[in-house]
Symmetry: C2
Subunit: 219 residues, 2 copies
Amino acid sequence: MRIAVLGTGMVGRAIAGRTAELGHEVTIGTRNVATLRDRDGDWAAWAAQHPGVGLATFADATADADLVVNATSGTASLAALTAAGEKHLAGKVLLDIANPLGVDRGFPFPVLSSDEESLAEQIQRAFPEARVVKSLNTLTADLMIHPQQLAGGAHSVFVSGDDAEAKQVVTELLVSFGHTDVIDLGDISTARGTELLLSIWLRLYGRLGTPLFNFKVVR
Amino acid sequence: MRIAVLGTGMVGRAIAGRTAELGHEVTIGTRNVATLRDRDGDWAAWAAQHPGVGLATFADATADADLVVNATSGTASLAALTAAGEKHLAGKVLLDIANPLGVDRGFPFPVLSSDEESLAEQIQRAFPEARVVKSLNTLTADLMIHPQQLAGGAHSVFVSGDDAEAKQVVTELLVSFGHTDVIDLGDISTARGTELLLSIWLRLYGRLGTPLFNFKVVR
């Protein structure tokens, strides 16, 4: 597949690197290519290690993609997707991994009331022709792409979305990463459940002292 | 221990029956004893099967207890605990199992914004001398008391609270039920994490078609 990964942070790099390694044609989308390239530091090093991954603006990366991955910061996602362009998103599978987090008394928390729209629903409403699937937002980047490193992969991930075929595309991608238990929660509103899961995830992270854990739904 | 279980619903009955079976001296607290006894239906049958479990008002049940269990409906808990009496709660371990749920478009959801106080924090603030521990609110009643029936008990429960000794008392009770992985999340504010977990729990319940599942924190 041609995959556009929007976002140059830890999650974007993880998904871009892994999908390129699996043989997909991958372009990372960013707000301003020149700004990113001019930055000192780790971007240049990462890019040098991943010569097969392209870099383009949000719009150019998205234009030719089959699958678009939203790996931007949750509070910046709607702006990034607007820059990517409604017409470029129309008809495409949009895998939304972003978590909108705020900081309360120094502690991050999901910016969402449990009876309010999740970010995924906001994205689906803003881009009605995109086929939004929420997934992978409940575990750390390295476990998203290499789940087998933890308990041989015996833990769970979730998909939420209104489009069954789009969920199937995402599920197959997750299985290709090594996931063995992909639970289809239902329509896009079920993303409230996974976005609010961040509340306990963040506390477990603090308590366990490592992000290398995940939930398994034992049934 | 002398245990007061506030609430006559599924959770209250489960905890009362199990703790009595384990040799504790158990009294169920309710708003109005006569009203409950006069009700037709399943209370009388349950009481007949559990002759060792006492029944008293919230206040009378709580007065002599070592441990108080809040198994009332989450939206009614503060009123029930007020009826139990601040002076009767002072100094006691208060195990809070309640979840405040609302209904949105026909679907239940936790009545809590992720940056707002959890019910457990509201209870701790209303009754500062009680030693509140939030626990067991993340799984169905029958799994609270018989965890070994699912995957031999290989799944997780959480405790949140400001009082380490109170958390130890609750942890020992959970272990006596058969729990093998009790995770201390930290202070009482971490109950936000477990109360918001209901958002995905409720959707998984709908999806799996059974409440007999639980989360395992794989690490």
